[in-house]
Amino acid sequence: MENSPVRTERIERVLELRRQRPRSWFLRVSWLIALAMIAWAWASSGPLLGRLSAERRRQNFLNFCGELVPSPVQKSGNWLEAFPWAWELLAEDGFIALLITVGIATAAIILAGAFVLPLLPLASRQLARPGPFGVWPGRGGRIGRIWWRLIGPATRFGFVLCRAIPEYLIAFLLLSLIGAHRGTGEFRYENAWPLVLALAIHNLGILGRLWGEVVENADGAAPTHGIASGGSRSGVYATRVLPAGFNRFLIYFFYRWETCVKDATVLGMLGLLTLGKLIALSKGFFWDEMFFYILLGSAVILVGDLFSTYLRKRLR
C-alpha cells in the first residue's frame, strides 16, 4: 500500500502544490525579525523576577493581598461590613468621578468624530486626487492638480501622527501647558480640557483610519456617477459617500467610545477628575479603597462594553 504508484503520485502532486505556494521574502524576513526580537526581549531583560528573594516576594504578595480587603472587614472579619464602607466611598467621590469619566470619554469621542468628518474626503484615496473616482472633472489648473495630489497623503500622514502618540502622553503634556485648574478661591475647579483634548487627538487619528477604510471599501458606483454628472467632491461626499457608510461609521464610533471610557479612567491618574485620580490618591495608603475604585472602573467598562456591543450588533 505504502509504495503503490497511485499513492506516490498523489504525494508528488501535494509536494508540487506546496512548492508552488505563494512565498514572499518580506513576510519571511518579518517573521525572522519578530522571532529574533522576542528571543532578545527574554534574554536581555536581566533577572526576570527582579532582585528580591523568593521568600521576600511571597511575603510582599501576601501582605499586599491582605491590604486589599476592605478595612472594616480586616478588623472584624465580617464581610457584611463591606457594604456600608463601599456605599460611603461611592457616595463620597466614586459616583461623581464615574460620571465625569463617562462624560469626558463621550465629549472626546464626539469631538474627534466631528473633526474627522470634514477631513475624510481629503484623506480618501478615491476623492482626494486630480481625477476623483477615475473621472476627469474637466476643470482645475496646474495648482489644483498639485494640491489634490498632495493633500491625500498629507492628511493620511496627519492621522498617523495623531494616533502615534499615546493619549496618556498627550494629556500629561497638555496638563502642564494649559493648566489643570481654572478660577480662584472658592470657584477653583479642575479643567477637563487637557484630558478631553488628549483623547480627542488620539482618536482623531484612529477614527480617521477606521472611517477611511469604510469609505475606501464602499461601492464606488454611486459616487462615480455623481462625479461624472458634474458633482463636486464635497457634494458627492455629503450626498453619496457619507449616507452609504453611516451605519458602519456608527459601529466604529461606539467601539472607540468604549475604549475612550477605559482610557479616560486611567487619565485621571495624572491627578484630576476621573476615577484614576481616586486610584492614584489612595495608592500606597489605602490599598483597599484603591482596589474598590479599580473594581468600580472595570464595572463601568464592562457595562460600556456590553452596551456598545449591543448597539454595534443592532447596527450591523
Binding site: L49, N60, Y168, I178, V196, L250, I251, K262, M269
Partner: protein
Amino acid sequence: MSAHVGLPRSLAGRLGARRWVVVGIAITFLICAWSLGLTPAGLVPPDARHWERTGNFFAAALSPAMDYQDPDTPDDANPIWLKGLLGLFHTLRYAFGAMSIAIPLALVMGFLGASAWWPERRGPLLGVLLRGVFITCRFVMSLARSIHELIWALLLLSAFGMSPLAGMMALALPFSGTLGKVFSELIDEEAREAAQALQAVGHGPIQTFLVGIFPGALPNLITYSFYRFECALRSSAVLGFVGIETIGLYIQLSHEEFFYHEVWTYLYFLLALIVIVDLWSAGIRRHLNPATEWRTVR
C-alpha cells in the same frame, strides 16, 4: 431619504433619518460639555507663566536637543541620541515580551471562546459543558481587558515588586483578553463549509478545527496581532509613567525639569519608531491579503 415602502426596517431604519442620530449626538456633546465645564477659556493657558511655558514648549519642537540640557549631567553619560535609542529598545523589549506571552494565551482562550469547532452531534451533557467553558472563557477575557494596562502595572508592581516580568505581564494580561476576544470572533466568522464537510466524513472536532477552520482564519489573526503589537508599543511607552524604564519615563523626567528640547528629541524618536512599525504592519497586511482586514472591530 427614509420612507421607502416595503423595505425591511432595521434599527437604523427605525431611527429613521440619520439626522436624528446626528442631532442626538450633538445634544449629548452639549450636555457633557456643560456638565464638565468645558468653556473656551479652559482651552488656552490661564496666565502669563503658562503662556510662556506653552510658547517655549512649541518653540522647542523646531530644535530638539542634540545634547543634554541639564548642566549637572555627568561627563561619562551616554550621548542623548544613544539614551533615546536605548529607551526605544526598552520600549520594544516590553512590547515584544508582552506579545509573546499574550498571543499563546489568546490562542488558547480564543479557541475555548469560539463555537465553530463544536461537534455537530453532541449529547446534552457535552453541550452544557461546552457552553460552560465558552461562557467562563469569555468572562475571564472581558475581566482581563476591563482593567487598563497601567492599572495592571500598578497592581502587579505593588504585589511583586519592580521586575521586568511584572511589566511584561501588565501588558500581556489585558492584551490577551482583547486578542482572545477578537481571535474567537474571527474563528467563528470563518465559513463553516469545509468544517462541516470534514465532520461529515468522520473527523473529530479538534482535527476539524486545525484543518478546516484555523488555516482560513490565520491571516486575519496575524494581521490583527500586528495591529495589537502597535498598540503594545504605545502602551509600553506609557508604562514609563509608573516607573518602568521605557522612553515614557525619560519624557516624563525631562518634562518635569522643563527640558523641553530633550522632550522633543525623545518624542521624535518615539514617533519615528511608531511610524516605522505602522508601515511594517501595513506591509504585512498587504502581503497576507486577509479577507476581513482589521475592520473587525477592536
